[in-house]
Point group: C2
Chain length 421, copies 2
Amino acid sequence: MRVVQKFGGSSVADADSIKRVARRIVATQQRGLEVVVVISAMGDTTDELMELALKVSPQPRARELDMLLTAGERMSAALLAMAINDLGATARSFTGSQAGVITTGTHGDARIIDITPGRIVSALDDGDIVIVAGFQGVSQTTKDVTTLGRGASDTTAVALAAALHASHCEIYSDVDGVFTADPRIVPGARRIPEICYEDMLEMAANGAKILHLRCVEYARRENVPVHVRSSFSDRPGTWVKDINYEEGGMEQPLISGVAHDRSEAKITIVGVPDQVGAAASIFTTVADADINIDMIVQNVSREHEARTDISFTLAQQDGAKAIKALRAVQEQIGFFDVLYNDQVGKVSVVGVGMRSHPGVTARFFRALADAGVNIGMISTSEIRISVVVDIDDVDRAVRAGHTAFGLDSDEQAIVYAGTGR
Amino acid sequence: MRVVQKFGGSSVADADSIKRVARRIVATQQRGLEVVVVISAMGDTTDELMELALKVSPQPRARELDMLLTAGERMSAALLAMAINDLGATARSFTGSQAGVITTGTHGDARIIDITPGRIVSALDDGDIVIVAGFQGVSQTTKDVTTLGRGASDTTAVALAAALHASHCEIYSDVDGVFTADPRIVPGARRIPEICYEDMLEMAANGAKILHLRCVEYARRENVPVHVRSSFSDRPGTWVKDINYEEGGMEQPLISGVAHDRSEAKITIVGVPDQVGAAASIFTTVADADINIDMIVQNVSREHEARTDISFTLAQQDGAKAIKALRAVQEQIGFFDVLYNDQVGKVSVVGVGMRSHPGVTARFFRALADAGVNIGMISTSEIRISVVVDIDDVDRAVRAGHTAFGLDSDEQAIVYAGTGR
């Protein structure tokens, strides 16, 4: 049986951490498993390399930046292999390119196209532990070294698990798993033992930082069970996997968890002419500036004015660029003003169980009202309800949602869909 | 016309140095040349990585050490390419593997077998400046990353110059070229404008640190002219090349220079039985311990004792290992004792011109005697005379040799072979 384990930068921040992780990996092999490890760069290495690059060039060319940054994982992979070799096991390190991680050519944000793990399989056949440098691959077209974007070592791990037909992929972190809410905000938040891909996707997309969105997407597509757990303990963490509630006889939770995100901002375009194509022009402008938007709300048009307001949310880091792009078309489109507000937060309740339960929205909004939280914007999917609130209300909104759906830790911890009827 | 330029670690020690080197490289391209640059790791990077490795593992596996250390040149290559791209030229960096540097599989000390520079040529055809990470390659058999041994970026540069049919290879350093002696010892030492491969080989093998032996060997074999020069000036340095004195009408120097080496030690084995095979046993023992020896002197056997003394020199770093190996066979071979002395130095006069001049040895020894230097051991080749002297006599011996062969800087600086007759 094969397993892929991924350790992040904080797990290999110094020589002692590397040795600790090495012991853990060797213990896994000693339990009779074939082990492939995906490793991130040590501690702050990537940030330090980036700083060095900016000292040399104000805007480093992306190809060369990838060449530079990939040195980080290469170093940690080699060091980890050395540490394992001292424990009586044998390990071989591979770069992304050597491991057969084939990607698109978009430097800094490449996508994995294919994995050709010939060298990995042959090392496993030799009885070796395989260490793969995460976050990197090789462009299918140019054969240049690429990076998958920050934090994408998780995706490398899941992609390798799929290509190697591993039983599952273990993502190690400094927390015990996925929680029903951020325990720093909700002290009674509980570890979720199992969560389906859909819920994990929504949690990740709406602020839960434990797993990267692309990693979860990949895991769902390839049906790779992911075990998110702590590198500091042997306790079970959270299994992200396909859950058939009917078949397993399990009760489906109404809500899996409450996610929040303070990294967005809200832009309001005031006095948009109520004409065909005005909204299209606005969002074409934003899209052309290569900015992703999240929620959109268009106010009901005030008929006597023939004008409306449009609000949308986007990542704070794109704020200045968006404002600039919109100002440039203000006259042409003919709106009155652009307002920017980054003192907002998004709070989402997530759960596939809500599909069959129309009362969820009402219960959430009632809880927010009772907590005195004013709702700025609303957006829903089939399995998620998100609200934008004032940044000072985020914590209260998270706690209110968590309590309202019975997620607070006590003997009757989870409100199951079955009991809500 | 193509040129290969090699810059060492001190030339790219920080962001400012990298930018300075970048300007130099772009200026070369602007003179109409196709430029391939071989780069070492920044400043002390390699030592720092080695330190890190030793923190993780007392004896890091060689394959993984190569994986780790090669990150150094990868980083400097990427940074240099970024800096060049900011100057309006375009540069692409390549690892040794990407550049097609095919080597043997001896990790830490691999030899270049072949260069397959397809990607380099194609980048040059695109008008790009090519930056190659020095000191590294890829094993022909295992496809693993290899290093060529410390300082071997010079060899990478010469090998690439040969494979790319470059007009010549420029090795940049912090001095102006090859000198007739170390200017710190001989203030009147002169830069040698041209030196033949043979003399440069002997200089390098006998302590002149400016070029690595293997690099000169490669240059001679492939007939690549090497220009050794300073990265801090535009002055001409030293051309190492094939010199046909007959044809060029040049006068051949009797002596090219005086080299010295303080890194050796002398071992004397006392009371070796004067029997067939005793010396063979001793040197087999040393060879089996993987120790290279330099000079050997066997004393004339004292007939009434049927015993002799054997002395040889070796690198100081191998001293402890050699003593241990010899002590282990002392009883079996039956010698009396092993003496170790690292308070010695080797001084060599080098020059193809001495082939036709039997008087050179006499002149050198006379000069040493006049300077009060006692000669411990003597070794000669067709174009070199070396003596081992007490370490405190090294400077005096160098100066004596330098003066004796008229190398001191003045208007009649060089003693040409023709004038010595």
